[in-house]
Symmetry: D3
Subunit: 336 residues, 6 copies
């Protein structure tokens, strides 16, 4: 997606130029992985015009593979972003209806070819939410990936303004999720998509945080419903203001709940893509520290913490920077 935003914290009506970056749930994860030197292919559908080409070039610049991207359809999705401050939240105006990706259909991508040398397939809950045909294409991909023994991860990434094409969300999400190994999602996703509620806990929340015991209950029900699931992970964001958030993550490894360090992000530069950068760090960790989920979780949360200091959708933090932070150096001293 093309992201158009006024400079700094200007409101839409104050600007006569838009900064341009490219992003979206899936490409954001792809760029993170490419930055960690993990070979990655981004699969999507873009229009055959100069604007579609810009998205391609941006992926190439970040060393994300584009050879499976298909051309066609009317337009590249756009979103307009107004960046907030203090108690004025950022504002997103989506203009993604009728995008090339929303009119993708099963058969358009040769998934067998895509997955030939792949180890991992990641999709997000946005794809099945934009149109029936995109949901169908997503299911096609997931089925083929599964049949080829590839690890499958998803980020439920629920957006209130999607799912308005009339599809049966619960059925679709249930089938898609049944193929997944790794889930990023929270108790709201579980309730909304699958009717799963925490059991045996009196007050589920403490402040705006779910209690550990409650989340554990949700994870266990999820695991029971979807036996293929190996891990369920979620981030916990404390929104003190648009400029200051706290940030941590929890990982259910099938048995118990691991907790990451907690960060205070006191002067947020760009909050968009925070979750995607967490996903990118998580996949990196799962691939590189398969025996150490705590390290994986700490890497993912430190990676996404740094994302909040970087403008744009994608995370440009390096492994060295992330490791420095996860090893406790949050001093922000000048490196020279």
């Amino acid at each position: 997606m093309l992201r158009l935003s006024p400079k700094d914290s200007l409101r839409f009506s104050e600007t006569n130029s838009f900064d341009v970056v490219y992003g979206g749930g899936e490409p954001n994860v792809a760029v993170s992985l490419a930055n960690y030197n993990i070979p990655v292919e981004f699969v999507t559908r873009i229009p055959k015009n100069d604007i579609g080409k810009l998205a391609l070039m941006e992926m190439c610049k970040h060393n994300v593979g584009t050879k499976h991207i298909v051309e066609g359809g009317d337009r590249l999705g756009i979103y307009f972003l107004e960046t907030g401050a203090v108690n004025r939240g950022s504002k997103v105006v989506y203009d993604r209806a009728h995008s090339s990706m929303s009119t993708i259909k099963p058969g358009m991508v040769n998934w067998t070819e895509v997955f030939k040398d792949a180890e991992w397939f990641h999709w997000t809950g946005i794809t099945p939410a934009i149109s029936q045909s995109a949901a169908d294409a997503c299911l096609e991909a997931v089925k083929i990936a599964s049949s080829m023994g590839i690890t499958i991860s998803t980020d439920f990434n629920y957006r209130a303004n999607l799912w308005n094409y009339g599809g049966n969300r619960e059925a679709i999400m249930t089938e898609l999720t049944s193929y997944c190994d790794i889930i990023i999602g929270n108790e709201k996703d579980a309730a909304m998509h699958f009717g799963i509620e925490p059991q045996g806990v009196e007050n589920v929340h403490e402040g705006d945080r779910i209690k550990e015991k409650a989340f554990l209950s949700v994870c266990r029900q999820m695991q029971a419903k979807f036996p293929k699931i190996k891990k369920i992970i979620t981030t916990l964001r404390g929104s003190i203001s648009a400029s200051h958030n706290s940030w941590e993550g929890v990982l259910y490894d099938g048995k118990s709940l691991l907790k990451s360090s907690s960060y205070q992000m006191t002067h947020i530069v760009d909050r968009v893509g925070g979750g995607d950068s967490f996903m990118g760090g998580l996949i990196y960790g799962l691939l590189n520290f398969p025996e150490d989920d705590q390290k994986t979780l700490d890497f993912a949360i430190a990676a996404s913490c740094l994302k909040h200091t970087i403008k744009g959708d994608v995370n440009l933090a390096t492994i060295a920077e992330i490791e420095k932070l996860m090893n406790g150096d949050s001093s922000g001293r000048v490196a020279r």
Copy 2:
């Protein structure tokens, strides 16, 4: 429409920001008229979101009335513009499909109310070209305007990449044109929309210009077919390069052909909206110099000549500046 363009003559792939202006065939004419202190209302349909509101604010800033604009639909049309130079032409990528305007339908605008105090209604050939329902709404407007005795003008404004919704172009344009008093169009429009070809002239063109006699023949056939037509006007652009055009206009007043002065626009700043600024000048002239078509034509061509020195879709030249130029002062001396 939102217009997004890289600065200066940068290509799309060289920029990370887009300049933002608002424009389109009809609003461009409206702003011209407002600048000439003619009370004007712009009637269109925009989405109920912050981006639609930007277009509204821009109209207000230029003193164009917005009280008849209706809200609804998915999105504001967008076009991307890459500005050319020398022998690299400017490039437009349209992203106007599914715009709020393209899904307008008869009944959405209260035309009787719109035309209550109006003298003039202007529409362009772009509206019937974007969708059947927009063509229907345009016809609805034209019929009501006609029944209320309002002068109707049109600019055929043919765009090759429109008319792809399957409508019967000849039938639609014939009906719409039959209600019009003032036409901007050329021999290609006449041939394409109505099958009218110049008669009695051997070689129709001289260089890339139509011969006067040939155009006269077309005008007379048009007049025969559409008896309501009072004047047919066209501009003659000589494209020496993207940076240098020649510019003049001809006006058929029902009897003979008047010719404007000819200008050399040697360092074009922004060529987009040139025709619309001509239309704006023309309506101003027809309202203010009803007895002097030569003056009207000279005003319109001088107005649009100045437009080529102004960035953006709309013409910001003032009456004083236009009159200075039409009175022969093209020296561009500093006013201080």
Copy 3:
């Protein structure tokens, strides 16, 4: 006034371009009201040149009426703003001497026409402070408004570098205030303009805040001196640093003192216009929640709190955003 400021927190000597916005005590209030869909006319005097026209266009863009603005005089007032950070305060260099507004005289505006359909007239203490003739014109307006039964409000808005034309400040302010219904002012204004000091309180201040009892004493004396006054309101700003202020307001309703919520504005974007945005919110509240002064005060303080996150003089926060904040959601989460 034209406001010229270096980008971000650059000092004057670091920039080679100035950002341009328009503002001033009265237009800032006008734009707030227009944003809340209250019909509003801005009355001022601007020079008959292109720079004066810019101010007009900006008002039109924000839907503020301009039909009573008169043209004349030498120049549009200018102020240069250098935006501070942390313990470097923002710096204003005024260049407003000899502005068109400062040479306004009684008789230049047809106030009877202005107030024909009006309910409310707002003036600020800056106008009588710039010149004797402006003070005279202000008094003329206030008298006519009063005679026509219109509610009159003022913001004393004292500026140390004004009042240097030699007028009798106490006499002028006393006469002007005697016509007012609603006052924004604090204990310093009362002491300076009217010689009113808090009575019966030993230590008037607690830190840099006036004690409630002391302010109440001031309000009661004000009310005794100016029986027309219905409410006295003031904001309480805690300047922790240029980047971080606390913010609340108190309203004396003729009987007792109401207090607003208190906000921490931890990453201020633009502090200029904070008081004006409070005034805008206050008038909106008094018109819309006439029975609920607490709600009015909370609306006004939330409105102005949001202003501090918005660049420029005017407040672009919407009613929805203000209500969200006054209802307790200061989380600044992304709206998407």
Copy 4:
């Protein structure tokens, strides 16, 4: 003076930022001379505020001496510049009324100290045109300079919108001119200020150029009236359009008329300061090639020709660049 201008060829109403440069008739000449390594002091009056300081810093940056500049008064003069293109001329809106320089008075500058080590004093016709006290101060300077045997030059630099304070222009200019050695001025100045008209030539102009014989007649009458005059020089600008001018100069050396080469400035970047850069080149030539007026004239015209390719008021061309051009290399090849 502070010059504020929209970027590129944007109109005032299209920008939300102004580019900032410093300039004016006299400082422009000063910067030219400093660039040619001629020690130069700029004498003016600026306000004691941050904006005045900006002007000072700019002079220092260009190595122009500032030690005789006096502080005081209300404001730095401002002018707004909208840069034209093709047949839309550039537009200047002056906001220089009440500037610190316009309220300068005799006695404020210690001219004896200023001229202690000076060889040359240059003033322009703008100074006596802004106020009586500035005219008086100018006369004071000219008299002292003359009494100390310093060469005096002037550029008449007539501006239609000045001289409105009611001073007796003819008397003032006659007295000031009587002290001058070197004059830049044309037949219009001579007629307007001194009632001198060409004699013995039937049609004074050829196109928009004065005939050589006519100008010679004017020069000789000037010389008769002002016996101290040694040379009269004028530039001849052919305004083909705002983007394309022709440019040459003529110099009357007390006996005959020398003509410079003629240049076509086909893609003008910034036309403002063209005359001042000519004056700068002229003084440099008169000081360095005292025996070779043709070389001086050619240097001055080449210098000012290059100015038209440089943004801002001041000429940043170097001696090497000017000599390259005056020696015939106008190819504009890349130097690398």
Copy 5:
């Protein structure tokens, strides 16, 4: 190389920001070829730091292969560019001394691996001119390429300020050239590097152009000296001014001289990289129209003509745009 340039035609001392692009003789050719969908690898040496990485990312963005680029050395070469106008030429300040590329040595690149699947190797005369070790590495590459039967092209690209390390230019260039099939160079290169002068022609030049007969004589001597040479090509630039050049090319095919169309580039946007874009077009033509040297020459000259309308070092013109121009459409009409 990193190219740093003030915006538009600003001089160095007028800017406080530099536009950043990447370029250089060889990468410019590489990007052209990548744009024509020719698989291409760029081989160079860059420092192991963030600035080196920027160059890498830029190549990736344009789909130029980077897998053979080696890391090491101190710094990325930089050049500062001030863009001229009219008779002020552009100015380049090189800061390329001690660059990573200048300290490359034989053995650092595995040329056998590089050339494994290659058909063509292109080098420029800049490489042997920067240091002895770079000349040695270039010779190493040329020898291995030659031994593997790969076509070798060069652009002599003489720069006066290079070759100052003391190497024997004639010997080095003679050996390097002896391996080449395709040469871009002119009579000055031939004279300077090889002592070859035109024979049998009285006045070698006509204006600033070499006579055809003279160039033919040079080509034939070149061919005699370097029997491997198949074609010698040169461009003919007419520098009317920095803003307006004429442009054509000639190609010696071993027998006779072919001439391209001639273009007037009347509003040059960026002249840097003109020759490299010609080389890119030439290689494309030689690969795609092996039987039609005229078409190749016309493609190359049209490609480089378009480059002059594009900012930056690299040519972003597409095959479609080039073919449109070489087929005679230089009208620069808007494509929409």
Copy 6:
């Protein structure tokens, strides 16, 4: 040095333009002093090209003397700065190798002339760290200054990535330091350069701060080793994050340790040059409050505190602003 940095907190790979400022340890101190109206000459070596001239002009703009600067060598040193936020620290990429300054040699500067009217000489530890010849030139300067009775100060300013030319750091620094009166340095410098460790303190640090007693021990050993030393000063930075530091200073006056106020810099604009601005304030204080070291220290720490709110390397805070802060007003209220 030329400093090139992406706008705001953009990463290198996100920008296509660099903001340009000039700076470096010594010029930063010079500009501070010039801002305090202390006559100051900056002595350095710059290349004879347009980029070197930019540095000169910047010094002139800030009223720093340049008459002793010598021209020569290859290039102006450059550093690239990426500004961090929160827990992403700023990043500096040096490109200063082979700079004109690094190839300075004894004899190039006429130090006797330089010091003729000087009272004070300041050098930094960066100079001897860049090359042997620079170290030699520094020693030459220090010896001559000392012989002429001039006060000598230094800031050790250790940079890990320098001192790589192989010089004997301990010997060089020992000799240079032996001539110094005023030292800015900390316990790490003392240990590294001179092998001095705190004595008689068990745990030297408390958190990341050295204990007072320990620093006192270091100071006394320094004083014993270098009897000329009069004062040793150091700043104490607490890096809470890249956006928030605490800041204070301590001064050893030969007997005891004075402590400054402590500041919280909660929204840092630019941290680079913080130490240099402290040095500038210190020299100002030592010259102006020779009897009041506490005042000197408080001035220096307040000056450098303000520097953190100002973009660029140099401190643009004024004496008035610094005194306001050191007198306790850190409220950052708007001055108007």
